[in-house]
Symmetry: D2
Subunit: 92 residues, 4 copies
């Protein structure tokens, strides 16, 4: 069972909305929209993507990491893996 | 003329690639991919989006801001607007 | 016991190094260093700060969150709190 | 003349405040403050650092880049350099 199984529909809906935003930016470029307006929309994409990431991470901690801690299997590896995922998101 | 007119095709190609990445994440979710693998792909989306933003900003500075500085029209406002766009990208 | 008790000295050493970097930037400003060189050093500060944050988060998950999961006390609240901390770091 | 010469005092004041924040975090660690509270303070450091960066970048565009565009010397190189600085700030 994946960590996000309870939020799967919500997660897909958010990803479809991000896909729609990316297509919206393509239309803006095709119609020669002003650079700054496009930059604002790109900010919206990275913001929405990071929100999805935080939500996924929370599900992951609540289910996958909690499970491995409860079972005593690989809990250290799971925690390390989650920290590395945050490191990549922060590009740290 | 928009700042990115010389790079319009490249810009659209990059945005289509990002759209494809977002759809790829949707498939991963539908197929119950591992949370951490999805987080890695989201990191790729925000990275690619920020790269597009930097490229757009550079085009904007090179053309729109340079033009307003050359014409002496609203150059201060243009610089301020560009700085605000960076501020939003950095969420500062 | 705080999550970082095993890494306390290392953590303090990293924070002192960041403090030194911030003072280094002050000297650069006093000596009229080039804007772009200062920006590069600010990037180093945010990078080092985010690295410290990831390390603290990992310690927190490994000790505090693991403990509350083991004891069955407030584990959900701890996970939520950690996710909110990541959200703030990402400004999502 | 550096781009930030008009804001030099304000810039130094902000950097001293960031230095104070970093020292405050060191005290928190010495006194075994709660991990999450420290993470919140680190978020404040990266936020304040990015705000300083945006302000410096704006000064740089307004003075150094504008000057090179006016003089027609190296304007392209200056724009590229500024874009690279933003790229590093965004870690893109």
């Amino acid at each position: 069972m994946v960590g996000y199984y309870e939020n799967k529909d919500g997660l897909l809906a958010r990803l479809r909305r991000i896909e729609g935003q990316v297509r919206g930016i393509q239309r803006m470029v095709e119609e020669d929209a002003y650079c700054i307006d496009i930059l604002t929309q790109i900010t919206a994409i990275t913001g929405a993507s990071n929100k999805v990431a935080v939500s996924l991470l929370e599900d992951h901690l609540r289910h996958c990491v909690a499970e491995s801690l409860a079972e005593g299997t690989d809990a250290g590896a799971k925690v390390n893996e989650a920290a590395l995922a945050v490191q990549r998101l922060l590009r740290a």
